[in-house]
């Protein structure tokens, strides 16, 4: 029997084309022993929720630098729930103004990371969220 691996979907919803951050995080999670499914640029929330379902992931990581996080994050959360995947944890990385953070957390986003966030923090918090 093999040990249970943490499976993470890393996706970039919306229209900005900056995926360096998403790739850095994908690589860091890989080096932490997780299986990262990378979906690429310009995903709709529907595509992300569908991929999360097919891949049966534990965690979805969204990278948003377009400023559209207040629209995209709740939509992804809603679709995950509609698919019966409410236990999937959603993390958000990118440019998120401080004043949006409480609202996003209230919606159910497990962690939010801006520029300068350390990959160790991300790895630790992803691990803890899956355990809990």
């Amino acid at each position: 029997m093999t040990e249970k691996k943490i499976r993470v979907l890393v996706a970039k919803p919306g229209l900005d084309g900056h995926d360096r951050g998403a790739k850095v995080v994908a690589r860091a999670l890989r080096d932490a022993g997780m299986e990262v499914i990378y979906t690429g640029l310009r995903q709709t929330p529907e595509m992300i929720a569908e991929a999360a379902l097919q891949e049966d992931v534990d965690v979805v990581g969204l990278s948003i630098l377009s400023g559209a996080h207040m629209a995209l994050a709740p939509r992804v959360l809603e679709l995950l729930k509609a698919n019966g995947q409410e236990r999937v944890k959603v993390f958000l990385g990118g440019i998120v103004p401080d004043e949006d953070v409480p609202a996003l957390k209230k919606m159910g986003v497990s962690g939010i990371y801006g520029p300068g966030a350390s990959t160790e923090d991300i790895i630790r918090e992803v691990r803890e969220s899956v355990k809990g």
Partner: protein
Amino acid sequence: MTLSQSVRKGDRLALARLLTQVENDTLEGRAALAELFPQTGRAHLIGVTGAPGTGKSSLVNQLALHFRREGKRVAILAVDPSSPFTGGAVLGDRVRMRDLSGDAGVFIRSMATRGSLGGLAQTTAAMSQVFDAAGFDVILIETVGAGQSEVDIARLAHTTIVVEAPGLGDDIQAIKAGILEIADVLVVNKADRPGVENTERALKSMLELAHPTRHVFLHHGREMVVDAPVKAETKMWIPPILRTVATEGTGITELAAHVAAHAAHLRLSGDWAARERARLEAEMEALLVEALMTRFRAEVPNGGFESAVQKVHERTLSPWEAVQLLVNGRQE
């Protein structure tokens, strides 16, 4: 309702969860597989293999689109390597398959090799059985970027497509043993690039060496014809060599036609059943080895194995004698 019943009813979340159970080889997964087993054996398993960067994922994407137009339900198992150091993996095949998003007749699952070396993961076969039982007509299995000896796919798939691209090696590469030998269909992808004729010629000469066909070649400027040996079996399948440009969808219809022709050939010649049987035999052997190992560990007194290893390490016993001792309780 059990997980396997939900899967049979078409519940996609249940299918995803069962795939996880099977991938992790849990007791629940094994029980569900046992329940589903009678429903398997219907799908056409198509393997797609080749070196990294030859365009396997793009080709799988296009083939899936083609099969969807024919009204078939398509499952995709995309295998990527696990890191040998951390066990982690980045599975990136979905990036090339975004055309398939939003289609309920397609189910894409990425998986990591988790230490397996043959181009597939240990549980890829079992996961394809889940898709088979769930009623998918076609299961496309994409191997890791394979070099020369990752040939497990040929044991699993009914039809194996080997993907090449121009500029990857000369005709000596083509006559080496390994991945080219397992091809039922050979594809030269990226056929809009220079060098496609050379690649095609190398593959063709490799096939001519291996199969008894009629050869036509130029010798000192004159066309020479060598007829196929009289004994040549006309029923034999000779892998076609096809050109595609997967990113543009060029050549996909022809490829799908040859894949269908291969399936028809397998059924007509009886090879379909023979391959199926060989695969099940190999699967059972693997399970038997595992079961015997478990029983061995349970029955050999504690420390028996370790003390034998110690003796071998001290060179007081050879490995062969040690194994005889452990299995029979005495030396033969």
